[in-house]
Symmetry: C2
Subunit: 195 residues, 2 copies
DNA sequence: AAACCCTCTTGTCATTTGGCAAGAAATCAT
DNA sequence: ATGATTTCTTGCCAAATGACAAGAGGGTTT
């Protein structure tokens, strides 16, 4: 397969206010990864060595409840940075699986190389920090929405703010992301139509 | 009331590897705050201007579910740094209340002063970053524990890892922190005793 | 076109959890 | 110390949610 780094280079150039040669050297430290639909990019128990930029495709992360049911914890669309932050930064076994929901093209930065850029490029460090703050805020807001809102309100929010998920994921995955079963989601949808 | 900064200064000295005069200048930018039992330190809707060091006492943060019931989201004991990260760093209205569960002594750093230290003291910045990573990880692990574990397992975990909470908070607060009602917690405790 | 697969919906039933209220126990205030 | 208040437990019942299974609908393959 031919390797075209234009999308990746554009992303890095846009993310980091650094000289062009630095943009190129950082970009070239990423490695192309291709995932087919249903392929796993990380499995529970593995220590993540991958910090991904998702050029195209669609991913989800998921774990299992106390009864063994899959529970989707996140959806990622093209343009996203994707990593199991806990496993990658703390080099601990992952608590979630990561899986492609459609054929995906990714660029991978390994842990050692991440550390090099983090310690030698202030802009990289600053971008990483900003990213972490945003990730923390998103997780906090999602956690609170699971408390503050009804399942129906969470469904309507998701439909409004992340419509792309409904093009890419099954209602079973969406239901578990909302904290309910596919049966309940089906009933909520029916109720909304009735209104 | 007499003001004794020894505990605060020791904390800062221990947290930041900087010269003693810097430890003292940073310490003296904190302002003493005293809270009586049940006093609020932040209310939902306010923009937080406070980054606290909790010298003594005990705090909780809480919000409300869709039916209006209080749900405790965090407990904080002496020695902790406490802030509504989202409200403080993004200067947005808080989504949670913060309340003292016992008379507490706190030290407060305001947003403007936080920014000054953040931009002028690399060690402060680095400490802040490490703190954020740990906060993110703790939130992620708590979120996953709400999925992976049963309420009984969460109860036993909490009892084992944070026994001080059981000295300071009511079972009603603990129950909502575990994601259940006080009625259910009471039944779980009964069941555990039976074993 | 037929067979197949996958997703989604829907009915029935079981289980879990919560609401409520009463009473016991512990704590606090005067 | 005594009364008042709060917390915790427990029983009863209602409501919400999930498990399971059947079936409809779409899309794909052969």
């Amino acid at each position: 397969m031919e390797e075209n780094r234009k999308n990746l280079v554009d992303f890095i150039r846009n993310a980091l206010p650094v000289a062009e040669d630095r943009v190129l050297s950082i970009s070239s430290s990423f490695e192309a990864v291709h995932a087919e639909k249903n392929d796993y990019l990380l499995k529970i128990g593995q220590v993540s060595n991958d910090f991904f930029y998702l050029e195209s495709g669609f991913l989800r992360t998921f774990t299992y409840d106390a009864r063994g049911n899959e529970v989707t914890t996140g959806f990622y669309k093209a343009g996203a940075l994707v990593a199991d932050v806990v496993s990658f930064f703390k080099q601990k076994p992952a608590l979630e699986d990561m899986q492609a929901l459609s054929a995906s093209k990714l660029w991978r930065l390994n842990y050692a190389q991440f550390q090099v850029w983090f310690h030698t490029v202030p802009e990289f460090r600053e971008f990483g920090r900003a990213n972490l703050v945003n990730g923390f805020i998103a997780l906090k807001e999602r956690t609170l929405s699971m408390i503050n809102l009804t399942a129906e309100q969470r469904y309507e929010n998701l439909l409004r703010t992340r419509p792309e998920i409904f093009q890419q994921a099954s209602l079973k995955h969406i239901a578990s992301y909302l904290g309910i079963t596919d049966t309940s989601l089906s009933r909520i949808r029916k109720e909304i139509v009735r209104k």
